[in-house]
Each structure stands twice: as C-alpha cells, then as structure tokens.
C-alpha cells in the first residue's frame, strides 16, 4: 500500500521521536521526566496508529497512557530518591548483559522484519475500523473481551488485598523499620526509645 509523501515524512519524524524518547527514559536523571518521556514515546506510537487508520486505538492510547504515566510519575516520587533529578543518577545492574540482550533482541526482530516474507494484504478502503472493532468486541470475541473485564476486576481486588494496610499477620508496618540514613545505620525518623521503667534518665 502506498502512502502519500507527507505521511511518510510524518512517520519518519514520529519514529525518531518514539525511539529517542524511549531511550531517554533510561538515560535521564529525573524519574518524573523519565515517565513523561515514556508518555511521549506512547503518543508518537499512537499517532502512527492513527496514520495506519486505527483511529480508535491511536486515540485510546493517548488517554490510557496519559493517566498511566501520571500515576507512574506519582509513584516514582513516592518511592525513589532524587525524583527531581537534581543530582546525576544511574541505578543499574548487569548493565553490559542488558545492553547485549537489548541489542540481540533488536537484531533478531529486525532480521525478521527484513528477511521474512509477509503477505501484502492492505486494509480495504470500505472497512470502518471503529465499527469493525466494536462489532468484534461485542460479537465474536465477546468472551475474550469479557474475560479481560473479569481479569481487571480480579486485579482490582488483588491490588487492594496486596496494598491494604492489614495483612494476615497483622498491621503492615508491624516489625518493619524505616531504612537508615547511612547504609547499615540506625533507622531514620524513629524517636529514641524510652526505658521501660520511666523515671530514670541516663546522664553522661
């Protein structure tokens, strides 16, 4: 299928944007910035989907990923040190192996893309992608769609169970200690424990 030149130009620009922002996710210091770079990568892919006539999926990508990445940024700030990226940071393990694994998987998949013969059956002009998706979701594939819904419901329940304050063995923070300010140091933010007798204080 031949696309007009302008579509090709936009595709190249969006592809570069998607790859560069995808790479920046793991190269930026700031966690908030990392999650928004991922969002940019998703939006670029969403626009490419719209160029491919998948209008619903492309637009759905925008709102799904906007909310997901927003939540991700909040979690980043909650759990990571240095969320603003004011200091340089690199938190990686098995770095060389990962680079090799990423490169090898890219090369294998690229070889598939370059060497394999795929049938050339472009979208026919009279198909309405949104209507066809809707008919599929609530027609032949309703079971799959409904199972996805059930799995999402199960996820919600599981998430509440996992993250709720009380577990089977009592309250969540029981027996847990905040991390020390230095490795192996005393737990941070804990008040000095008073002696049980009360009354007497240590004088030095």
């Amino acid at each position: 299928m031949d696309y007009p030149l302008i579509v090709d130009v936009f595709f190249v620009l969006l592809a570069i944007l998607a790859v560069v922002s995808g790479w920046r996710v793991f190269a930026t210091d700031s966690m908030v910035r990392a999650s928004f770079f991922l969002l940019v990568s998703f939006i670029a892919v969403g626009v490419i989907m719209i160029l491919l006539a998948a209008e619903y999926l492309g637009v759905a990508m925008f709102f799904m990923m906007a909310v997901e990445m927003m939540v991700m940024a909040i979690f980043m700030v909650m759990f990571m040190m240095n969320p603003a990226g004011l200091n340089p940071m690199m938190m990686v393990h098995q770095h060389k192996f990962s680079i090799a694994a990423g490169a090898v998987s890219f090369l294998v998949l690229a070889a598939v893309a370059l060497l394999a013969e795929f049938p050339d059956n472009p979208l026919s002009a009279d198909i309405d992608p949104v209507r066809s998706l809707g008919n599929e979701l609530l027609g032949d594939s309703m079971l799959i769609f409904e199972s996805a819904g059930i799995v999402l419901l199960t996820t919600m329940i599981g998430v509440v169970v996992l993250s709720s304050h009380n577990g089977r063995y009592g309250a969540a923070e029981e027996g847990s200690m905040p991390p020390g300010l230095v490795p192996g140091g005393d737990p941070a933010g804990m008040p000095e424990e008073e002696d049980e007798g009360g009354g007497h204080h240590h004088c030095h």
Partner: protein
C-alpha cells in the same frame, strides 16, 4: 511507511524495553521497560492488522487485550511495590534477596 519500517520501529522499541527491564534496579523503572516492550508489541500488531491482515478485526482486538494487560501489569506492579516497601523498606530489586532461596 511500509510493513518493514514499522516492524523495525517496533523492534527498536522492544529492544530498548528489554534493556530497561533487565538493567534497571528500581521496580518502577523496571516496569517502564516492560511498558516499552508492550508499546512495540502493540505497534507491530496494528501494523500487521493494517498492512498484512487485510483489516481482520482480531488484529485490533489483540491491541485492546495488550492495553488491558498493560493496565493489569501497572496495577499489580504498584501493589507489589507497596507491599514490598511496607515489609522490607526496599524499592530496588536487590532489596528482596529472600526470593532467591
């Protein structure tokens, strides 16, 4: 924009995602790697749907299912991060060494 270039782009996204998922210490960054892999998968699915599958509706359905998988992965991932942080005060994968034994 041909099937080949689209698949190359998807391959690049999946490759970066695999690098991220394997190399990052922080749970949340690790999940970002997984998301990037799924991003490439969705792009490849839509590309096949539009250029090779003659618009078979199952192609779009697959993308919707991947989106649901992404939402589930995010939700479960964050719940596990919260649970691990509550018990171990850890936000990096090295913090849960007892899973090794």
């Amino acid at each position: 924009m041909t099937l080949m270039t689209l698949l190359l782009l998807a391959a690049a996204l999946i490759g970066i995602g695999i690098y991220g998922a394997l190399s990052q210490q922080s749970f949340v960054m690790l999940m970002m790697g997984l998301e990037l892999i799924l991003n490439g998968v969705m792009l490849a699915a839509v590309a096949f749907w539009a250029l090779s599958g003659a618009g078979a509706p199952e192609g779009q359905l697959l993308t919707i299912v991947v989106m649901a998988v992404m939402a589930i992965e995010m939700a479960m991932g964050f719940a596990l991060v919260v649970a691990v942080f509550r018990t171990n005060q850890a936000d990096v994968t090295e913090g849960i060494t007892e899973l090794k034994h």
